[in-house]
Symmetry: C2
Subunit: 280 residues, 2 copies
């Protein structure tokens, strides 16, 4: 089920700059009981990403209405995934953008992926990817449509018992998973990569940071190596669709699902329920 | 005029991974007297780019036939631009590619841009862009669809008397123009950036390198700074559509259109005419 600029259709002009250059952004949002979860945060990030790329962001109220309309129409699904793509639209001359930008907005609903419940409870297995994240402060943090690095990294393994690949940047610092942000726990503090040169500043990452600080758990954004990660007390990956998956194994290193990760999961559950109640 | 997988149409499924992730490559080819110029070289680069991204490349003979069919249908235009896009097609789960990849091929013809003749003869004005090229050896050299850096750089200026923006990488080395490769001449040698961490290895760059070596002009690929470029005897930018544009000015530094650049232009003219005759 797809809305392109408010119309039900499934095709886009090939001249769209999203297709030509990856000139746009996206959001991937969990839908629970017909409600897009943390919608306002996603819309705020979309807006800030558009500002950084100088794309006029579609009106938040319009996106809100279309998102809710789409969810209502598909209400037989208890859980789903809403994807919002905004591109710089068509036109311009080569890389040069047109004088008047008419952005394209695409909202689409997808089945919720059938991840086993055990992933959240008992943890997942991760590996390190050989594909590195390039460095570019101008694009770091933005959930833009230039995702070849993630595609290349995800293509490195097909074993079904490995659930996520961890990506290093070209300087060998650990940054994130192919589709997730990464945290680790050491001596009752929470650590995650600073995303100033690469990476996507995930909504779930932001919420976890805020909740942890609120609950008195220090959160440190810094640069860290594989070895620092492997000597952690606990580690987990997160995104808006999966929530939090504890990591039980990275290659040959084993971790137990620890108390800090479990505490964060319970803060998050409560917080998400409140968000749904407010939205409903 | 557009052919998508052999059919005349102008729209692509939004599920195409080219739109979702910029998961694909492209070629931009000059068409002269109904003939795509240097077509075999473009098809060879497309093939090698596909191999690097693990996309099965559409059959060269098929692309050749479709390219020529498109040019014939549009034969009223003496000159045109043929663009070929190949993506990983639709399917897969998130970044993960589908088990069976059915690539999408899009061939489209566009009017030749109306650049004044003076650009080739008397040179162009260039500026340095603030937007940097990120570093990633896995993607360096490939003409892939992740082009946000170029879009951002090209959006930095709108003065019509500046024809190209030169891009540095995040380490301050000069790499290329937003839509061109860059060469400079110093003491009768030709210099250009090594494209091991960023940049696009242009067809015209390859031809100029080969022709220069054939004619006894040494070509050195290396890392160079703004200052080294600004102290050059001559400089020029090139691509498959514009050929060679001498640079007459970079910000406040002035250059004259020198004998080495002119010699390269004449080698290139002759070489392109031969290619057209062979293709015709």
């Amino acid at each position: 089920m797809i809305l392109i600029n408010g119309e039900s259709k499934a095709h886009i002009e090939i001249s769209d700059r999203g297709f030509q250059y990856g000139d746009g952004l996206f959001e991937t949002i969990e839908v629970r009981d017909d409600q897009p979860v943390f919608l306002e945060r996603h819309l705020a990030r979309l807006n800030s990403g558009c500002r950084r790329l100088h794309i006029p962001c579609p009106d938040a109220e319009l996106l809100r209405l279309e998102a809710k309309e789409l969810c209502r129409r598909w209400h037989t699904h208890r859980r789903a995934v809403l994807k919002i793509i905004v591109t710089r639209g068509s036109g311009g001359r080569g890389y040069r953008q047109p004088d008047a930008i008419h952005p394209t907005r695409v909202l689409s609903l997808h089945p919720y992926p059938d991840y086993p419940e055990t992933y959240s409870e008992r943890g997942v297995v991760a590996r390190f990817c050989a594909t590195r994240l390039g460095l570019n402060p101008a694009l770091a943090g933005i959930k833009h449509l230039n995702r070849l690095e993630q595609v290349m990294a995800r293509a490195e393994w097909s074993e079904p018992d490995i659930q996520e690949g961890l990506m290093l940047d070209v300087n060998d610092y650990v940054i994130e998973g192919t589709m997730t942000n990464l945290f680790y726990v050491k001596n009752n503090s929470l650590y995650t990569a600073e995303l100033v040169q690469s990476g996507v500043a995930g909504i779930m990452r932001g919420i976890i940071t805020a909740l942890s600080v609120d609950h008195g758990l220090p959160v440190i954004e810094h640069r860290f190596s594989k070895d620092e990660l492997l000597s952690a007390d606990e580690a987990f990956v997160c995104n808006s669709i999966i929530g939090v998956w504890p990591i039980k194994q990275i290659e040959t290193a084993h971790f137990s699902v620890g108390p800090v990760t479990q505490r964060i999961q319970s803060w998050l559950d409560k917080f998400a329920r409140n968000d749904c109640m407010e939205a409903g």
